[in-house]
Amino acid sequence: MSERRVAINPLRTIGAATLGMLATIGQLTLFMLNSVSHFVRPPIYFRLIGRQMIDVGYYSLPVVGMTTLFSGMVIALQSYTGAERGGTEDAALAQVTSVVLLAVTRELAPVLAGLMVAGRIGAAMAAEIGTMRVTEQIDALTTLSTNPIKYLVVPRIIAGLTMLPFLVLIGDIIGVFGGYVVGVYKLDLNPALYVQKTYETLEFLDIFSGLVKAAVFGFVVTLLGCYMGYHSSGGAQGVGAATTNAVVAAAILILILNYLLTQLFFGI
């Protein structure tokens, strides 16, 4: 019956898909508003927030450090090959330092940290909360006078919101350091001049915009991880799907929001 309808009227399928997507967006928005409203309403579970902050912040440091280190290094290499094609040593130095600094602080550190945390933390949150959903542990929370949003979701979102900027700040330093290492030891640029040039190029907005992006990405990653897990159904397969969706949706949203935020900060 339904196959025939699809064959007869493809508009029906498109309409159903559109309605489904709109419903999901609406549901996600309500979920977000509900969660945010619990940020300030007591009781606030400080211990849980602390534990999540350690998980999101501290334990993501190696991953974020490695990604930003090698990104900074490769950018130094790339921008030097671009510069040496016709220019003086000074011009090459100026180009390497400024490209490394801008690329790392504005784009690479926040975006890569966001994507890494989406894979590491967003997936884990979706899987954990999803399993709790399908084994009725979330319902059990309700019967033990504990609001599951407050207990499970809020600490995670707060951790994402606050810890990603922290990670990105560290990532900025490591990334720029990676550029320095390649610039000085591989490309034989003057170390003192490299540091001086980097300081001269550095602007507050470069760092600040990166940190704002990081906070937004941290919010998006944890919100989607929690949302997908919270609304998962159908056993192991459902939890698997929730985990995939959380990572994919977060990654896409990070890239879209990254463009919009860049436009907001630096758009002409």
Binding site: M132, E136, Q137, D139, A140, T142, T143, S145, T146
Partner: protein
Amino acid sequence: MNDTPPKIRLKNLHKRFGEKVVLNGLNLDVGKGESVVIMGGSGSGKSVSLKCLLGLLTPDQGQIEIDGASILGISEDDRDQINRKFGMLFQHAALFDSMTVLDNVTFGLIRGKGLMTSDAERVAYEKLEQVGLDRSFGPRMPAELSGGQRKRVGLARAVALEPEIILFDEPTTGLDPVMGDTINELIVKCTRDLGATTLTITHDMASARVIADRIAMLYQGKIIWAGPTDQVDASGDPRVDQFIHGRAEGPIKMEVRRL
């Protein structure tokens, strides 16, 4: 006493998911201190009615009253207050698998009742002992327990808060008959001790006969028969007879459904 409202009143509940009607005008009163068992086959709407009662689902139509006051459409804070009256034993116990047995049982005591950890632990060990689990179970993780032990921890966790109403979702499912009967007896003992009102859903007749003061039979989203446990064999309703004797042939035609 007749003018006191029933502890739980489900009035004309309707709930549908898409085109599937799950509850179709369910009516049920449960008196204070009474133990009522809702029997019904798979997909008859048993679980949905419990979820409506707990506020996890909202019925499309109808009323749910606790102590005479409607609990539909109330604020979230009021709902939290109402939920304090409830305890529940879930079908697969739904223990928090990231916590030890002891932390599971103290969870509600510390967060819900605001007990000090030491007091909560004392109560928890008391309740664990009541369900036949000694102190050595305290530090164990739920994954290390058997099905029957998990159910017992779940029961201890549910009764630890001394709720006024306790809900049981298929308490004997997945247990061997002896363990099932042990759980049944523990349920009777624990709830009688508390004087709690209980509502159980099950399809296990043996369990229903032990637990229930009154049995209600749910079929196609409606209560088709309700009466004292000792009259269930003389209900005069062929559908009830078919169910309690577990016959495939009869007026209840099982839809063969995809699980």
